[in-house]
Symmetry: C2
DNA sequence: AATTGACTCTCACGTTACGTGATGCTTTAT
DNA sequence: ATAAAGCATCACGTAACGTGAGAGTCAATT
C-alpha cells in the first residue's frame, strides 16, 4: 500500500513541496523509490508523518523533531501519550487566551478594569513550553552529543576521544579552583565555546543556559565532575561570565 | 505611560527584535520616539499589539495582519468578538486532534481499527480556516485595491484611472462572447495577470481563485459586470484556463 | 502505437519572520 | 565621573517552505 506524493499530500493536507523538503532534510524518508525516482510512502511512513505533524503543531522546529524521532529512546507509544498531554496543555493555554479576550471585551465596555499585563495573559512566546518535557524524554541532541560521549564511553573509548575536547576539559578541571573570571579560565572557556560551535550552533545565551544545565541536571553534573570535583559549578559560572562579557 | 522596547518585550513575552521588525514593516509604529531615537510605546500601542498577537496566533501572516488593522473598516470591538469566535474554533480543532490521538493510542493497542485518513483527522494545513471570515469582515487588500477602484470611483475618477487597467477590462468585455480559451481571450487575460502582479504578488493559484471570487461574491460580480453583462463569469473561466495552461 | 493530460522529479530563486552579533550612542544608578 | 544596562541601526544568516522552470514518467484514451 504505497502512496505517491500527491496522494499523501491530499490525504494529510500538506503540500508536495513539504514532503520533498522533509525527504531532503532526512526527516521523512519514503520507504521506497521507483526506478524513475518516484517516492513511495508506506503505512509506517504515514505513521511517522503523524508524529512529525504533532510535534510541528506544538511548535517544534523540524531539526528538533528529527532529533527526537531518530533518538534511540524514541518510542511511538510513549510519544502518543506525551502528545496527548501536550495537546491538553495547549488547550489549557487556549482557554486562558479566550478568558483574556472575554476580559478585554468587558474592559472595552467599561465594565471592569484591566492592567496591561492582564491583557497579555496567555500570550507567552518566549519559549516553547513543551521543550523541557521533550528534552527529558528524548534528550537534547547537542547536549547529549557532548555528554553522551562523556557518560557512555568506556575507558578505552574515552581515550580515543577527540584530543581537543579532552584537553579542554582537563585544562578546565585544573583551573576550577581559580576565579571563573580569570584570564586563563576565560581563555579555556573560549576554547570550549569554539569547540561546541564546531558541533552545532550555540548562541551566547544558549551557551550560558548550557552551563546552568550542567548544574541543574544531575546526569550532567555527574559526568562533568568526573573530571574534577566541583567542575560543573565552575563551568556554570565561567560560562555565564564569558557569555555576558562577550556580548558587550 | 510610555514604555521602551525591553519593558514591552518582557511584559508581552516577545523579543525586542520582533518589536523592531514590526516597526520596520509599519505594523506597529510607536506613538513617540525620543530625540535619541528610542521608541516609546503607548497604551494604545499595547492594545494594538494585543490584536496583532491574536491574529498571529491564528496563523495570519504579518502582511495580512497589517492590511486588516489598517483597514478603514477595522473596529477593535468587532475584532475582539471575532477573535473570541476564532479562538473557540481553534479549540474545537484542538479537541479533534486530541480525539485523534486517543483513537491512535487505542489503535496502537489493537483495540480499534483506524484508516490512514482517520489518523490525520483534525490536521488540515491546506489553508488558514479563519481567513475567509477575516476577508468578509475586512476585505482582501489585493482584491479590494482592484475593485475598490472600480466601485468607489466617481465617473471622473474612473476616467482618471490607469489607462492600462481600463483598456484591459474593456478588451475583456469585448471578448466575453467568445471562447474563454481563445488566443485573443488568453492574451487579454495575460495582460490582466501581469497588471495584477504589478500591484501585488499573485500566484497562478491565487489568480485562479480570484476569478472564482469574482463570481462568488456579489459585490465583485456587480462591479465587473458593469463593464459588460456576464463578464465576471467569462473572467472566471478564462482565468482558470490561463492558470492551468500556464502551469504546464 | 500515439497522444494527451496528470503526475513526478530536481533545480533554484524568492519570501517571511525574525535571530544574532557588531558597533556606537544614551540612560541610569552608584 | 564611571560603569553597566539599555537602545539604536546595520546586515548577514536561518528555517520552512512557495513558486516556477524544464524535463521525464505514468495512465487513460483514441
Amino acid at each position: 500500500m504505497a502512496m505517491r506524493v500527491k496522494e499523501v499530500a491530499d490525504l494529510v493536507g500538506i503540500s508536495v513541496r513539504t514532503l520533498h523538503h522533509y525527504d531532503e532534510i532526512g526527516l521523512l524518508t519514503p520507504d521506497e523509490t521507483t526506478e524513475s525516482g518516484y517516492r513511495l510512502y508506506s503505512d509506517n511512513n504515514l505513521q511517522m508523518l503523524q508524529q512529525i505533524l504533532f510535534f510541528k503543531e506544538l511548535g517544534f522546529p523540524l531539526k528538533k523533531i528529527k532529533d527526537i524521532i531518530k533518538s534511540p529512546s524514541f518510542d511511538q507509544q510513549e510519544a502518543l501519550e506525551l502528545h496527548r498531554k501536550m495537546l491538553l496543555e495547549k488547550r489549557h493555554r487556549l482557554n486562558k487566551m479566550i478568558a483574556t479576550v472575554d476580559k478585554t471585551i468587558q474592559h472595552s465596555k467599561g465594565e471592569i478594569q484591566m492592567t496591561s499585563k492582564e491583557k497579555f495573559e496567555g500570550f507567552d512566546f518566549s519559549h516553547n513550553p513543551y521543550e523541557q518535557e521533550a528534552r527529558q524524554r528524548w534528550g537534547d541532541d547537542a547536549v547529549d552529543n557532548a555528554n553522551t560521549k562523556l557518560g557512555n564511553m568506556s575507558k578505552a573509548e574515552q581515550e580515543a576521544m577527540s584530543e581537543e575536547m579532552s584537553a579542554i576539559y582537563t585544562k578546565l578541571a585544573a583551573l576550577r579552583h581559580e576565579s571563573p573570571a580569570s584570564e586563563e579560565s576565560q581563555a579555556a572557556i573560549n576554547d570550549w565555546y569554539d569547540f561546541l560551535n564546531k558541533m552545532g550552533h550555540y548562541s551566547l545565551d544558549a551557551f550560558k543556559g548550557l552551563g546552568q544545565l550542567y548544574v541543574d541536571d544531575k546526569r550532567f553534573t555527574k559526568n562533568i565532575d568526573g573530571f574534577g570535583e566541583g567542575l560543573a559549578e565552575f563551568l556554570r559560572d565561567a560560562m555565564a561570565i564569558y557569555a555576558d562579557k562577550k556580548r558587550k
